[in-house]
Structure formats: structure tokens, C-alpha cells
Amino acid sequence: MITFIIRRLLVSIPVFLGITVIVFVFIALAPGSIVDALLRPELGYDPAAEAAIIKRYGLDQPLHIRYIRWLANSLQGELGYRVASGAPVSSEVLRGLKNSTTLTGTAMLLGISIGIPLGVLSAVRQYSKADFVLTGVTFLGISLPSFMLGLGGLYLFGLKLRLVPIGGMMTIGKEPNFLDFLRHLVLPALILGFGYMAIFLRYTRAAILEVVHLDYIMTARSKGVTGAVVLLRHAFRNALIPIITLIGLSIPEVVGAAVVTETVFGWPGLGMMMVEGIQDRDFLLIMGVTLVLALTVLVSNMLTDVAYAYADPRIRYN
């Protein structure tokens, strides 16, 4: 296993570099640049200012030189500064990372802890009323766009019912406290968690249904093993592989996939930061966020592989 991990780490290096190259090139190819963000067309054109900005951000250099400079600086922990605030990208990304993992991590925990048991229930009670209801809820969770859920949730629970505050991470102007933080967290976490719950419910249901009619389950039942034991020890464990895969694929989302929800709720995470970076054509910020996302994807993929081995003893990495 150790050899496998080391090998995966080594393979990850070119993959990681490949990701950064692709994103860097895409940003460069995209129309517009920092110049366009800094100089608003409605206020007239200022060629001297444009030239100064181009020089300051090294945009007059060839693409490969710009990339090598960025990479060299990044390897030394120097990710540059944000266009908007001039704040160091490294500290900004860490701040966003912390906020994003708090929100999306909570949402995912909710989604997993509710979605998987409901998925099992839905499979065990296939074609029952409960199954139909849960399947309907699943479709809603998967198909409703998050901006609609977000704005709808704010309108209903925030404006009409006054159960939760309207966005943000804390009540502005008051001393921060944990209860206040929870009040702000609950709605975006539930809305994001609803989507995750739907996905996990659907996958769990399908995975359980796939194994529940297999011979070894029938054998276990014919040997007199109780239904619960059959379900948990035999069916559920064998259904775990696709669920683990799904969890592994979802881990990167914990870091930066709640773009719309963060934007609607004013939650200052990586997703919102990415939107701001794109609006400002802030390639240093975009690359900083990409760096974290790429690392998360690589690490989570490796963790998923490791988890496979524990879930299914037939899988070994030699």
C-alpha cells in the first residue's frame, strides 16, 4: 500500500502540472484581461494606464514565460496579490478554503448522513409509498437549480418566516459568536445538503438494489441470517464501492463547488472568490484557487483508492 501511495504521488506531479498549464492557457485565451477589469469602457480609454497595467502584471511577456514565472513563484509559496484588494492570494485562498469547507462540508455530511440511510430504505421498500416519495424528492433535489433554491430559501425562510438571516456568515456589526454563525450556516447548508442528499439517496438505492437479489444474499437469507444483518453486513458493504466512489468524487466539491450558493448567500468561500476572480480577470487569484482545487482532486482520488481496499478485501494495490 505504501508503494502504491508513493507511486500515486509521483504520478500526481505531472497531472498537477498539466492541470495548471491547461487552466493558465484557458485564462490567457479567454477574452479580456485585467486591463479590461481595471479600465471601465464607459469612462473612456486611457492608453497610458493600459500600458502601465500590462507592464505591471507582465502581460507583455510570452505565455510560457508568464507560466514559468507563476510556477516558480508558486513553488516558493508566492502566489501574488489580488487585483481588487491587493491582498496576498495565498492568505485569501486559505480564508476561502476554510469558509468553503465549513459550508460544503456541513452540507455534505448532512447529505451523506441523510441520503444514504434513506437510499437503503428506498431500496428495501422498493415500489412502496415511501420509495415513491423519496424518489420524487430525489428528482427535485437533483433537478432544482441551486440559485433558485437559494433565492427561494432566502425569500421564504429569511424574508417571510424570519427564521434565518439573509445571507452572510455572521450578523454584521455584532460580536461574532457560535450560535450566530450557526444561524447563518443553517440555510445554505440545508439547501446544499438537499442536493447532496438527493444524489446519495439515488446512488445508494441503485447500489443496494443491484446486490440485494444476488445469490450470496439469497444464500445468507436461506441460512437463517436476519434481515438487518443481511442488509448491513452483506448487501450494504458490497454496495459501498459506488458510494465510496461518489464520496471521493464529491470531496473536491467540498472545497470549491458551491459557487452559486456562496454567491447567493454572500458566503465568502472559494466559490465566490472564483466568481470575483473571473469578473476581475484576476488570473493570479484564479490560479490560486485552481491550485487548491487540483490538489484536492488528486488527494481525494488517492484516498478513494485507499478506501476501496478497505471496503473490498479483494482489491489490493501491489
Binding site: A30, P31, G32, S33, D36, A37, L38, R40, P41, E42, L43, G44, Y45, D46, P47, A48, A49, A52, I53, R56, Y81, R82, A84, S85, G86, A87, E92, G96, N99, L110, S113, I114, P117, L121, L151, L154, G158, L159, L163, V164, P165, I166, G167, G168, M169, I172, G173, D180, L182, R183, V186, L187, A228, T263, V264, F265, G266, P268, M272, E276
Partner: protein, 599 residues
């Protein structure tokens, strides 16, 4: 039983989360707005300010004195503002209204009629009135008309107690022109471009701008190469910075300096307290503000990325003002707790038909026909719901466009005008009608224009919202790849704005006249714009700009269709607020030191 326990657990988890949220939601206050648009102003010594009348937002029985909050919370979002995390005061673009709480300028504008503003929806409501002193008490031009001298207000101090002097002004101007300063572009210093020695300083051939002279602590002069009658107006958006703090920062690291995030100081009514990225920025009252101690103890800018979320927060009473679009106005006018503040956007909408790709649009008759083929008033009435007004040229201000009537909707005349070009027009393919305006209202407007042009001239325009201003800028200006474009153009604060759009010295890419490979050139217009800038007789100057208006209306280098009204919605709990929503944030006295918020 196990299932019941399990379900109970799930329900309990959700219920506990919801309960955690059930404490009383925090309320608070609000404020905002920017703008553009003043008239030109008198040259001779000008006495400074008397505060204009403030807007009585709350109706309170005479005997009842409401309790006041010490804090106002607001959303500075929408077209007024660069963004929540732009913490330096001199980046070009918006946020002037926010930074005017912290900083002051040499001059500023009074709002013409702030009370009328909230009831009058004409796009010229709420325009700026008299130019007035901010840090300058008075100003005068020399006999040769080349030197402007400003007498500064005495007794003004920075937030840390250090006296403000003329040296701070010279420092600010030179910092802005310093090519090493990473806080560039100091857009607002462009007014001083013609000052003696600026070019030498910018190219590092000189160590100071020789035309800016500190006469004494309370007097400063600007000497120009050519007479510039509009300087006291055009310099009015430049925030003055403290030399004793900012001067310690290396220009090469100016933008990135911690100073802007932690301890920046100004001479405005409120002091910087703290900035939390993505969350909020907090200011506290400056007790020694020269106009008087602010009545509010704190003003907080709550950060919103999404304007719809900001409006919901406003409706819930969490913030006291935010920006709204025209289609939200009707709803907010029904809100008993809110006052809608309309204001001149200072921005025209214009169209440009690419005559490089399609030479038929190079004919003035065709462009005139297009203007006659669009039912502009109908679109304003039915799509904008009145929140715009027709313009005859770039200039929206009455003193600059007086006597110049816009083309009227006349489909018969339009068809007559294009008769000689019918064959060429018939060969045109479907034309992409692009814009960077991403809102539904703009799409509706563009669809209406396209329908008019199809019905009356047989043109096929397909609206295309690019949602990305940067992409549009490249397509339109740099690549000259657009077919037909719909865009905005700032039309103020003076007629000198025409210099950047129409003067042949400003042909793109040197300036904003035209696009790559195509620009407008008219010797008469060039001369009028040059002469107007040097003219110290306001009436004569206006007359020159009116001529520019007439000529450009007839030749249509750009096809200006209307200027829009923008809106802010302010809680009725807010008293004495003056707020003008407009593009880019203009310079006007908003009486922030008088604002209060009822409990």
C-alpha cells in the same frame, strides 16, 4: 421501531439546526449612490458650500421623537461600485460614493433638488447643481487664464489629527502620475493631464510636477500649458491622500500595502475601522470632521455579491439601502417601509453599426433612417416603464443639448431615406446585436429595437448578451468584430466628455473615438471641442457644446438613443440622506454627517 428512531434522529437534527436559527434576525440601516453630471461652472472666485436641503425620508408625528440607532448598514452593489474588496480609493471606476465617506476632494457638487429627486422620475432629476468647495474654500483663475489657484479650508485635520495642507494635494497629484505607483490607474487625476510638467514627470525626466505649486499651507496653484476652464469641475473626483502616511509607502508596493486594509486615513466624515474580505467594511464617526461630528457612530458596508440577495436583505430590514434595477422599482414603491431614489445615470445607451464590415452603414442617410425607425419613446414608456429619456446626442444635460431635438419615430421617413440603399441592405445577413449588459431588461430593450428595425427597414438583428464586459470590449474595440453593438457611454460631468469620444486626436487606440481601424473625424467638431475647453464664458462654452451636439446628431458617429435612470431604495428609517444612483460614482455632497437611522 428502529426506523422510527432513525427518522426521529433525522428530524431532530434538522429541527435543532432550524432552532439554532430562530433568534431574532438582526436589522440595521443603509445608504448609497454615485453618479455623474454637472454643469460647467463659473471661473471667478467661488464661495463654498452651504449644505443643500436633505431629504426627509421618515414621516414622524411632531410630538414623537424616535430613538436612533448608532449604526447604518448598507449594500454598495450594482453599477455604482467596483466591488466589495476594492480597498484602495483611487482605482478607476466606481465606489466614489463609498470612499467619499473617508476622503474629501478639492471641489464637489451640490445635488440640485434632493427632495424633488425622490418624486420626479425624469432622468434629469437629481442632477448636480452648483459646484461647491470641499477641501477648497474658493478658487480663481489668473488673468492669463493658465493658472488656477485654490484657497484651502483652514483647520481641517486628517483622521489621526495631523493638519491637512496644500502639500498633501501636490503629493496626491504626483503619486497618481508616478509611473511606478501600482495603485494606478488614478483615473480621477486625468483632469490635471494638461498641467505644466506632467509629461516630464510621467516619463521620469523630472522629479516633480513643476506646474503644481504649494504657495503656502493653505494655497495651491495649477498652471496649465493651455487654458482649461473646466479644471475645478473635472478635478472634483480626485480624493486627496495624506502625505505623512501614504508617503511612507513605496510606490512600487502601493496597491499591495497593508495600510489600505488596516489603517488608511482621510479627511472625510468617517474613519476606517476594519475590512473583512468578503464580509464587511466598517467605518466610525470622525469627531473632528470640519462640517461637524457625524450623527451616526458607524457606517458598515455589508458585502453582497448578488444584488437580488441584497434586495431581500433590504426587504427583511437587515440593511438600509441597496441598488435596484428599473424592473424592481414598481415592487419597492409598494413597500411602505422604503423610498425609491431615482437619479440620472450619467450614462447614455448607444448603438454602433459596423461600417468596416458592412459599408452600407457608413452612409449617414442609413444611420439616420435607423434612428427614425426605432420607436424610442415607445420603448422608454413600455419597456423601461419611463425610467429613461431620449437624447439627441451624447449630452444628456439640458444646457449642453438645448435646442437639439432627437430624431422622432417616423417609419415612412426611414423607408424613404434607405431607398437608394435598398439593394445593399437586402444583401445583409443576420446581424449579431451584441452587448455587455447581461440583465433581462436590456434583452427586452434590444429585442424591441431589433423588432422595430425588422418591421421598418427589413434588418435582421439577433440580440446577443455576452455577460462578460471584458469579452465585449475586446470584440468591439480591439477586434472591431461586432456587427451591431449596444453599449453605454458616460455623458458627463461636462461637455468635455465629447473630447474623448469625438476629437480626432483621441482616435482609438489613443483615446475612445472609434475602434480599431475606424474613427470619427470632423474638423469643425475638433475645433469646437478645443475652443470650448478654453472658454471661460459658461454660456459661450455651452453654445459650443450644443453645436457639437447638433453636428454629431446629424452625422451619428455613435447613435445615442436615451439616457437611463438608476435607482436606489432607502429605508424610511433613514433620515436626511441625499443619494444619487449613477454610473461610476460621481462627486457630490451627500451630507453623510447628518444621516440618522430610527430604531
Amino acid at each position: 421501531m428502529k426506523k422510527q428512531i432513525w427518522f426521529s434522529t433525522v428530524v431532530a437534527v434538522i429541527a435543532s439546526l432550524m432552532l439554532a436559527s430562530c433568534a431574532t434576525p438582526a436589522p440595521a440601516p443603509v445608504v448609497e449612490a454615485p453618479a455623474a453630471v454637472p454643469a460647467t461652472e463659473a471661473p471667478a472666485a467661488v464661495p463654498a458650500t452651504e449644505a443643500p436641503a436633505a431629504v426627509p425620508a421618515t414621516e414622524i408625528p411632531a410630538t414623537e421623537v424616535p430613538a436612533l440607532r448608532d449604526t447604518m448598514i448598507a449594500a454598495w452593489v450594482g453599477p455604482c461600485c467596483n466591488g466589495n474588496d476594492w480597498v484602495t480609493p483611487m482605482d478607476s471606476g466606481g465606489d466614489a460614493h463609498w470612499f467619499s465617506k473617508i476622503y474629501s476632494r478639492l471641489t464637489t457638487f451640490e445635488v440640485l433638488d434632493p427632495i424633488k429627486q425622490v418624486v420626479d422620475y425624469d432622468s434629469n432629476s437629481g442632477v448636480y447643481g452648483k459646484l461647491t468647495g470641499d477641501l477648497a474654500e474658493s478658487w480663481a483663475v489668473s488673468d492669463d487664464k493658465l493658472t488656477w489657484t485654490f484657497n484651502l479650508r483652514k483647520g481641517v485635520t486628517w483622521h489621526d489629527g495631523v493638519p491637512f495642507t496644500a502639500k498633501d494635494i501636490k503629493f496626491t497629484v504626483e503619486l497618481c502620475f508616478n509611473p511606478k505607483n501600482t495603485m494606478n490607474p488614478c483615473h480621477y487625476v486625468a483632469a490635471a493631464n494638461g498641467v505644466v510638467g506632467v509629461e516630464e514627470y510621467k516619463t521620469e525626466k523630472a522629479t516633480e510636477v513643476s506646474g503644481v505649486k504649494v504657495v503656502d499651507d493653505n494655497t495651491i496653484s495649477f498652471t496649465f500649458v493651455k487654458a482649461n476652464s473646466l479644471f475645478p469641475v473635472t478635478i472634483n473626483e480626485l480624493f486627496i491622500l495624506p502625505e505623512h502616511t501614504v508617503g511612507k509607502i513605496k510606490p512600487e508596493g502601493m496597491k499591495e500595502a497593508e495600510y489600505w486594509k488596516t489603517s488608511q486615513i482621510g479627511t472625510g466624515p468617517f474613519k476606517w475601522v476594519k475590512w473583512e474580505a468578503g464580509v464587511s467594511t466598517e467605518l466610525a464617526a470622525f469627531d473632528n470632521y470640519w462640517r461637524g461630528k457625524p450623527k451616526l457612530a458607524k457606517i458598515i458596508r455589508r458585502h453582497f455579491e448578488d444584488t437580488a440577495a441584497a434586495l431581500i436583505a433590504f426587504d427583511a430590514g437587515e440593511i438600509q439601502f441597496t441598488y435596484i434595477t428599473a424592473d424592481e422599482v414598481a415592487r419597492e414603491r409598494e413597500n411602505a417601509e422604503a423610498v425609491v431614489h431615482p437619479g440620472n445615470s450619467g450614462v447614455d445607451n448607444a448603438m454602433q453599426f459596423n461600417s468596416t464590415k458592412y459599408p452600407v452603414f457608413g452612409n449617414i442617410e442609413v444611420r439616420q433612417a435607423i434612428m427614425h425607425a426605432i420607436d424610442r419613446q415607445g420603448i422608454i414608456d413600455n419597456v423601461y416603464e419611463g425610467a429613461a429619456s431620449m437624447v439627441s446626442c451624447l449630452y444628456g444635460l439640458p444646457n449642453l443639448n438645448a435646442g437639439v431635438k432627437p430624431q422622432q419615430y417616423d417609419p415612412a421617413l426611414a423607408k424613404e431615406l434607405v431607398k437608394p440603399f435598398a439593394a445593399e441592405l437586402a444583401k445583409l445577413p443576420e446581424l449579431q446585436f451584441d452587448t455587455y449588459y447581461a440583465d433581462p431588461l436590456s434583452l427586452n430593450v434590444m429585442t424591441a429595437i431589433a423588432q422595430n428595425l425588422k418591421d421598418n427597414l427589413g434588418l435582421n438583428l439577433k440580440p446577443m448578451q455576452m455577460t462578460d464586459g471584458a469579452a465585449w470590449t475586446k470584440r468591439y474595440y480591439k477586434d472591431n468584430a461586432s456587427d451591431v453593438s449596444f453599449f453605454g457611454a458616460a455623458n458627463g460631468p461636462t461637455g468635455d466628455r465629447g473630447f474623448s469620444y469625438f476629437h480626432s486626436d483621441n482616435a482609438y487606440p489613443i483615446g475612445s473615438n472609434g475602434v480599431t481601424g475606424r474613427f470619427y473625424k470632423n474638423a469643425t467638431v475638433d475645433q469646437l471641442l478645443t475652443d470650448a475647453r478654453a472658454d471661460f464664458d459658461t454660456a459661450a462654452q455651452d453654445a459650443k457644446y450644443q453645436q457639437v451636439c447638433e453636428i454629431t446628431k446629424n452625422e451619428l458617429p455613435n447613435m445615442y438613443v436615451w439616457q437611463t435612470v438608476r435607482f436606489h431604495v432607502v429605508s424610511k428609517k433613514v433620515n436626511d440622506i441625499i443619494i444619487i444612483p449613477a454610473a461610476g460614482g460621481g462627486s457630490y455632497y451627500d451630507a453623510a454627517e447628518l444621516w440618522t437611522v430610527n430604531e
